[in-house]
């Protein structure tokens, strides 16, 4: 009987570890996928000179489909005014460069959060992929 009581106490703790391992894999796969999608969109933006509406919409659709989150939850801040290829580096980093930042929410960071006293609001996070690329577009 004593051992059964101990097992009852320990089992949920041990199960949290297993759930956490799975959750970690899931979150990491989502982040890796997000990185790939953003870098693909960046390559397209370099050709177009900026993140066009079409590129942003396609990126949102791809992320939404693959991560299973709503498009409205994806936050994209990027250069949307065409930048053209220039033959020098602009130190103000305004001309010829495309800046981008894509953020998605991570629904759950810790498995069994409520069991160990982490509220649902604290158990969330945001992952951001950001960077800069030089535009390859030449003026028409």
């Amino acid at each position: 009987m004593k051992q059964l009581i101990v097992l009852t106490a320990i089992l949920p703790l041990m199960l949290i570890f297993i759930a956490q391992i799975t959750l970690e894999q899931k979150n990491n796969a989502a982040i890796s996928m997000l990185q790939q999608q953003v870098y693909t969109a960046k390559e397209q933006a370099k050709q177009e000179g900026c993140f066009t509406e079409d590129i942003i919409n396609r990126l949102k659709t791809d992320i939404s489909t693959n991560l299973g989150i709503s498009k409205s939850e994806i936050l994209i801040t990027a250069t949307e005014v065409p930048q053209y290829r220039i033959n020098y580096f602009d130190s103000s980093s305004e001309r010829g460069l495309i800046h981008y930042s894509v953020s998605v929410p991570i629904e759950k960071i810790m498995a069994g959060g409520s069991l160990i006293g982490i509220s649902a609001a604290d158990n969330k996070g945001v992952y951001t992929v950001e960077g800069t690329a030089a535009s390859e577009k030449v003026p028409d």
Binding site: Q3, L13, I21, E24, S32, Q35, K42, N87, G131, T132
Partner: protein, 148 residues
């Protein structure tokens, strides 16, 4: 007591695995990030060229402007990585262009950027040590064959 020892053993094994998994995933993400920075640095540096030499049919990469661009990308990447004191991210630029005889050798000009990241141990487990990450990227101007 026996049950307690088994519990502690299971706890340590689980903690070790979770710690390893988290650190490994972070390491893989870091590799992906540095790969993207290296690719962008090489592709961006290859955009700047000597216009006078180009008008004479020789492609010469403007190293000075390329280095400025790489320096900017590296400093931005360092900021995103939140490097601590003693940690560093540096880049090495290698250029092979008209000055090196691409036309004579019949090869395309290329730019290679190698990033060296030195950090404190990426793994929290005492028996794993990873303090340096190196990523390299080569950008070749394939449409700029000799005579271009």
């Amino acid at each position: 007591m026996k049950v307690f020892i088994v519990f502690i053993a299971l706890l340590v094994a689980n903690m070790t695995f979770i710690s390893y998994q988290g650190d490994l995933n972070r390491y893989i993400r870091l590799q992906g990030f540095l790969k993207a920075v290296a690719e962008e640095a090489a592709a961006g540096a290859a955009l700047y060229y000597d216009e006078t030499a180009y008008s004479h049919g020789v492609m010469i990469i403007n190293r000075e402007e390329g280095e400025k661009y790489i320096e900017y990308l590296v400093s931005e990447a360092g900021r995103k990585l939140s490097l601590k004191e003693g940690e560093s991210l540096s880049a090495e630029l290698e250029v092979f262009d008209g000055r090196d005889g691409t036309a004579v050798q019949g090869v395309s000009p290329w730019v290679t950027v190698t990033l060296h990241l030195n950090v404190s141990d990426l793994f929290r487990l005492p028996f794993l040590l990873k303090e340096q990450v190196i990523r390299s990227s080569k950008y070749e101007l394939a449409d700029c064959k000799p005579g271009c």
